[in-house]
């Protein structure tokens, strides 16, 4: 993008302001997400954990011998 020379200083200041604004906005939006989305799921999960039976642990191992070793995907 071509910025005319007289406007370059203003453009730099504007872009720096947009970075700051971006961080403020993303913090606000992420916090809203954290409260209303993660919070809701968290409360449901905690309630489910309360009612589920806690079995005594003879072992902490989890068997993964039948898990996929597919490498093409990030999941």
């Amino acid at each position: 993008m071509h910025i005319p020379v007289p406007l370059r200083r203003l453009y730099d200041l504007w872009m720096r302001f947009s970075q700051v604004l971006g961080r403020i906005m993303s913090t606000i939006l992420l916090t809203i997400l954290w409260i209303f989305v993660f919070g809701l799921y968290a409360i449901i999960l905690k309630c489910m954990r309360l009612v589920s039976r806690q079995s005594s642990k003879e072992t902490y191992w989890i068997d993964v011998s039948d898990h996929s070793t597919e490498m093409r995907y990030q999941f």
Partner: protein, 586 residues
């Protein structure tokens, strides 16, 4: 003739970025990014390491058949990180924000970043984090069949696994999941003792011999160790799931003392805590070894993951006799994950043939004698040149004269240890060298021990070790009648972290030791990494010269060029304080 198959393995975005290049399954090049950027444990995308790897092989990214990334980023984020966020809610807001700001602009775009940075449009593979660790050990071991244990902080979910390697196949059988982690337990106590997490765990290991195991019972309240090798942490003592610190008030109440301030004086209490932690870690690792034996029935064991750098535990596993032989990946941390990822693709995806055991870690850049001389001339640095066949005797004489030398030769080592190509070396017989090298050269804590290099054929005369230890990953006792001979490498509890060397591994370094032995009768020298505290190990002649000039080393041997500090004109005098300021304390 078939075109060679090139696979590039990468690790980055957490700590210890690295790039590894395989050609038909053989390691052509391997290096950590920190060596080029001079930022310790650099986690950035390993652009420099990749560039050097491709240049070394004489190829471009277009010649790559595959790229392998050392873990599954989406699984890590959408499963473990978000689930943990919900689990600890309403705690953890700050940690959540930090994670989001890391992941959303960068880590979630790993394939795009790889494609853009490399100019690469081919296939990218994502073995799981602990599969990468396991592969880095098993496929480099030369064992046809082996049990594999991996243990670290955390990968996607797994923190500890037991697997079975057979031929070209490698399968993980059992795992323990976050937040229950031996690596994070060790890091949490590292934090409690005032040291830097993910950086200074090995210092806690070195501190342990100064202490007594007085707090083992309190440690058992932190971790429930089951006889079948599994374990779980008592999370009420740890804050890393939701906080920016590893531990809080609960652990201070348990041990009866507050968290140590970094750089404050160490007390006997701290040494006792370190020792107690080591006892518990040893017990946990031995339990894992027995469990691995029972699950797989194998004669051999492979170890990888950050906890496999705990060479005290490794030595105990070896001496237990549970396995006939063990192989520990020298780059056991996340840098080695890059190697393991590439090997997973070669063996499991491409059904490539197994190669013999990894013989050495000299896999990085080398600098020719011409390059070194040109560099020194450009700097106006006075030096002497010694003929290659005279160099061992010449340097051995310098060592005998109680000098401390910077030794820069051949290809750079891969992994956290210097093994004779980027090393500071000195006479192990001189007890003064312990203090001199710690305080005046490396500027590090005075309690830290030094490791010996010994001629392989004379190991049994000096140490309670009946096999090779080429990567400094095994600790064994110095024999009683030798402790007074080599005090500078014998720790307070008479142990030593040993490197054995034979001529096939490193001819020049071996010849140096032979020359020293011929002159003194002693086949052992001090070998410590060529860097100061907080600095990555030197990579280039420039790094080596900088480190040499700003410390109290007596000589620098760069290839066949020898620089004598005493002969340098006054304008070459440098300040250590200024040099050290550029490196964050580790």
């Amino acid at each position: 003739m078939n075109k060679p198959i090139y696979i590039l393995g990468l690790s980055c975005f957490y700590h210890d970025s690295a790039a590894v290049l395989l050609r038909d399954g053989e390691i052509v090049f391997a290096a950590q990014e920190e060596r080029y950027t001079r930022k310790k444990h650099d986690e950035a995308f390993p652009k420099s390491a990749i560039a050097h790897a491709l240049e070394h092989a004489g190829i471009t990214a277009n010649d790559l058949n595959a790229v392998a990334f050392y873990e599954k980023p989406m699984l890590k984020f959408f499963d473990r990180i978000l689930q943990t966020t919900m689990k600890v809610w309403p705690r953890g807001l700050r940690q959540y924000h930090l994670a989001m700001h890391e992941w959303m602009p960068k880590k979630l775009w790993t394939p795009q970043i790889i494609q853009k940075e490399l100019g690469y449009k081919g296939k990218i593979f994502y073995p799981a984090h602990h599969e990468s660790h396991a592969a880095s050990a098993f496929f480099c071991s030369g064992f046809p069949d082996a049990a594999v244990i991996t243990a670290d902080g955390v990968g996607e979910w797994a923190t500890t696994t037991i697997g079975h390697g057979q031929g070209k196949d490698l399968k993980l059988l059992k795992e323990i999941r976050y937040p229950h982690s031996l690596g994070l337990l060790y890091s949490a106590i590292t934090y409690y003792l005032g040291f830097k997490v993910n950086s200074a765990e090995y210092k806690v290991m070195g501190l342990a011999p100064y202490g007594e195991p007085k707090y083992v019972e309190q440690m058992r309240q932190l971790i429930d160790l089951k006889p079948d090798g599994s374990f779980a942490l008592a999370m009420q003592y740890f804050t890393y799931e939701y906080g920016l610190r590893m531990t809080g008030k609960s652990i201070e109440t348990l041990f009866g003392k507050p968290t140590r301030d970094p750089e404050s004086p160490l007390e006997q209490f701290h040494k006792d805590i370190a020792r107690s932690l080591q006892e518990i870690t040893d017990e946990a690792m031995l339990n894992l070894a027995r469990a691995a034996k029972q699950l797989t029935g194998s004669k051999y064991l492979c170890l990888a993951g950050g906890v496999a750098l705990n060479c005290v535990s490794n030595g105990k596993i070896l001496r237990s006799g549970i396995f006939e032989d063990i192989f520990i990946q020298p780059a056991s941390g996340d840098a080695g994950g890059a190697l393991g990822a590439a090997l997973m693709v070669w063996h499991k995806q491409m059904q490539g043939e197994r190669l013999p055991r990894m013989q050495h870690t000299y896999l990085g850049n080398a600098y020719s004698q011409e390059e070194i001389e040109q560099f020194l001339k450009d700097q106006g640095m006075p030096y002497d040149t010694v003929a290659l066949h005279d160099l061992p005797q010449y340097v051995a004489k310098l060592l005998e004269g109680e000098n401390v030398l910077g030794w820069f030769q051949g290809r750079m080592e891969f992994g956290p240890r210097s093994l004779g190509n980027r090393s500071i070396i000195a006479d192990a017989r001189n007890p003064e060298n312990w203090k001199k090298v710690n305080l005046k050269i490396k500027f590090r804590e005075s309690f830290r021990p030094f490791a010996p290099t010994i001629l392989e054929e004379r190991t049994k005369e000096y140490f309670a070790l009946d096999r090779e230890s080429p990567y400094m990953l095994l600790v064994a006792d110095t024999l009683p009648d030798k402790r007074r001979e080599i005090p500078a490498v014998t720790h307070v509890d008479s142990s030593a972290r040993i490197q054995t060397i034979n001529r096939n591994q490193n001819a020049l370094y071996y010849d140096l030791l032979k020359a020293f032995e011929a002159s003194t009768g002693c086949p052992v020298i001090i070998n410590t990494s060529f860097n100061v505290r907080g600095e990555p190990i030197v990579e280039s002649p420039k790094d080596a010269l900088n480190c040499f000039l700003h410390t109290h080393m007596d000589y620098l041997v760069l290839g066949q060029c020898v620089i004598d500090k005493k002969k340098l004109p006054p304008e070459w005098k440098r300040s250590s304080e200024e040099y050290l300021k550029q490196f964050a304390l580790d």
